[in-house]
Symmetry: C2
Subunit: 434 residues, 2 copies
């Protein structure tokens, strides 16, 4: 594909890496906790908690200090706008999220949000006026930890999840999203279905080992792998641990353990492509030392970069569980929590990112995302791609060990800045090919 | 061994099976709940809860109505006394417990307590005066569900667990045994170390399939198998479920599942005699669908009728877990919760039970107990044995399906009555051979 280059390309922008880093370090203090498992200081800032509220207020303050007008929509998504010369044209949107998991770090999500604000500061300081508006956003409950549905705010905006459904979701204490939006004051009046942007670019840590293994700081993301979340409940029979012969047992816990083992075998087998399977939660009832479990409840998280491999993996798992249940004399109950197909990103936006990285002299590789992101939702609205930033320790995240060094962060956001500036100068009327 | 028979043996006693059954059915209403897993009505009467308090008050009322004086000791054990002709001689003690597990039935423990009261009623109605005092007791928190240590009250009485230690044990909400004794009013003033009885006989449901398979209602119990309770905590590393490659994971949950599977393999192998292993509790942290577990916490309940087999099983399990942890890059932490060796019961009391059953024409078999009982603690104080009563459905217990039919219950308590009467007429000064 060929693009029409501007006759005189504008000078390249370099963001202020120290200012970006300072913002990341300041934000991570909100919700900070001492993590016993790692001995490190982590971040626990679940969506619409008091900690999230405080973080939101700080980020909005920074948006306003960067001269932007801020609006909040009905699901608590926040957008700040830097006006372009032609306000009638669709904007270029940057964004991510600032909620974390219970054992989070300083970079997941926040890099894309604070990076977007840094892009605006950089444009302002360079005196750059763009044709189109540029917006910086952050989306409610991307992690899905608190209310059980990830990418919640962006999915509502993209129209995949109805607003009423999202508002009615509850946390473990029975509090609804709607109640918590009101309680924290983030029940905005902007419409939850935002005007279609010209493009969306999200900068995010990779959360994987590919970039570091390739010796680069950034990646151009080709798409997001498919994700399947299911809850499995095994119903066996409680019985006395000391007196019930092994052959008389209907041990729900044993069956659950066998499912955990089988999932690992499936990953190792290679029969399902690059399948990743995780059992993140597992609990027994009645949960007594001397009682064979009457039930076991577990979640199963499957990821696959190829939809067909995911389909076969889910089918084979279901058959395995059925056979196991029949042999063990237990009953199983499946509940679908989430399912997304592979989301390919816009080839055109990927090309802009790749060409811009080349111009900047920033080495990159292309990679598919192993994690879900708001970008996969927004890609239903407009051409979308992502910039990945390398992490240390194999790109580990969702733990306080999550770490990306200042240079990698700065390179990622510099790439974001120049690509977004270029996209924001694209004239109207062209085809928005994905 | 030969015993001196009374020249004219007294007529045999028959207890009132209907009265016993009515008491069992009345007591099970205290703490009754609807069990979702079985669709049956179960009993949830954990030690020193409000339900336990109500049950204790009803049982004490029945003890007093049977003419007995009641005392409560410092750990909440309750004893009722029917005076004998020579109050200076050690008594014959009957008893068991009235607390239940969270998914309990109507018979576990209660049969021995209500059976003991029925024995006293029967003696009274038959106008039988015994040489020795007869006491009926029930012990605090036999199940160990609430405060984590089973046979708590009887272990304190037998001197295995110091009173201060027992008082300081806490439930999941952090409430101590001492606080709950005071709150429920069962902090008695009798000394926790009771006077040494002449003999202890406990009637209890078998909780296993042996009696039913042999076609008999009752069993003479030869002892209690060894019990090992350990808590295992696996410390891995939290990481993102979608992005962390399988080979980079330190999945605490997977290791826990592998331990569950290995335990079953050990039971099936036959290498450890009649080993029974149960993982009754298992939980993950941080317990999120999309986070690889950083830690997994489980209990391991092992039972074995042969001490040497238990020793080897524990050693092999520890080695398996060590190797597994090294391979998976996780750390494991063991905590000893409880350990009891095989407890052989008094041969002499077993003989009294067997001879009495023969006189009564009640068929019996001898059997070792798969479950722990207060009798194993009291056996440290005095010659002890147990009467088992057959249960249906393979003797399943710790579930609302637990059921022993009225005839079996009546036969067990009739055996108890006649054996206790015989023991209570034994003269003083003889050797208390075990």
């Amino acid at each position: 594909m060929t693009r029409t280059q501007d006759p005189t390309p504008p000078p390249l922008l370099r963001i202020d890496g120290e200012r970006l880093w300072a913002a990341l370090m300041q934000l991570k203090e909100i919700g900070a906790y001492d993590d016993a498992a790692t001995g490190l200081r982590g971040v626990r800032r679940l969506a619409l908690t008091d900690e999230d509220d405080r973080a939101r207020r700080l980020v909005v303050q920074w948006m306003r200090e960067a001269g932007m007008a801020v609006r909040v929509d009905e699901i608590g998504n926040v957008y700040a706008v830097r006006p372009g010369r032609d306000r009638s044209l669709p904007c270029v949107l940057m964004g991510s999220h600032i909620d974390t998991v219970a054992t989070g770090g300083a970079f997941d999500g926040t890099l894309g949000v604070l990076g977007a604000i840094e892009v605006v500061r950089t444009l302002d300081e360079a005196g750059v006026a763009t044709l189109r508006d540029i917006e910086c956003g952050f989306f409610t409950d991307e992690e899905g930890v608190r209310f059980g549905t990830d990418m919640l705010g962006s999915a509502v905006t993209a129209g995949r999840i109805p607003l009423d459904h999202a508002h009615a979701l509850t946390d473990d204490a029975g509090r609804t999203v709607a109640e918590e939006l009101v309680r924290t004051g983030w029940d905005g009046d902007a419409h939850h279905r935002r005007p279609t942007p010209h493009a969306y670019v999200e900068c995010h840590i990779e959360q994987g080992p590919i970039l570091a293994a390739a010796g680069v700081d950034v990646g151009v993301v080709t798409g997001v792998q498919s994700i399947s979340w299911q809850r499995l409940t095994v119903h066996g029979e409680a019985a006395h641990a000391g007196t019930t012969p092994i052959e008389h047992r209907h041990d729900a816990g044993l069956v659950a353990a066998q499912v955990v083992i089988e999932l690992r075998r499936m990953c190792d087998s290679g029969d399902y492509g690059r399948l990743r399977a995780t059992v993140g939660t597992l609990g027994f009832e009645p949960a007594q030392t001397n009682v064979i479990p009457s039930s076991a409840r577990m979640t199963i998280d499957l990821r696959n970069p190829v939809d067909d491999h995911m389909t076969v993996a889910e089918k084979d798992l279901a058959r395995f569980v059925d056979d196991l249940a029949a042999a063990a004399g237990v009953r199983v109950e499946w509940e679908r929590m989430a399912k997304t197909a592979v989301v390919p990103f816009s080839r055109r936006i990927q090309d802009v990112l790749a060409e811009t990285a080349d111009e900047l002299g920033i080495g990159y590789v292309t990679a598919m995302s192993g994690a879900g992101h708001d970008a996969q939702e927004i890609s239903a609205l407009c051409p979308t791609a992502m910039v990945f930033v390398a992490g240390e320790h194999g790109g580990i995240s969702h733990t306080p060990r999550e770490y990306s060094d200042p240079r990698a962060c700065a390179n990622g956001v510099t790439l974001l800045a120049n690509a977004v500036r270029r996209l924001a100068d694209e004239p109207g009327g062209g085809s928005d090919e994905r």
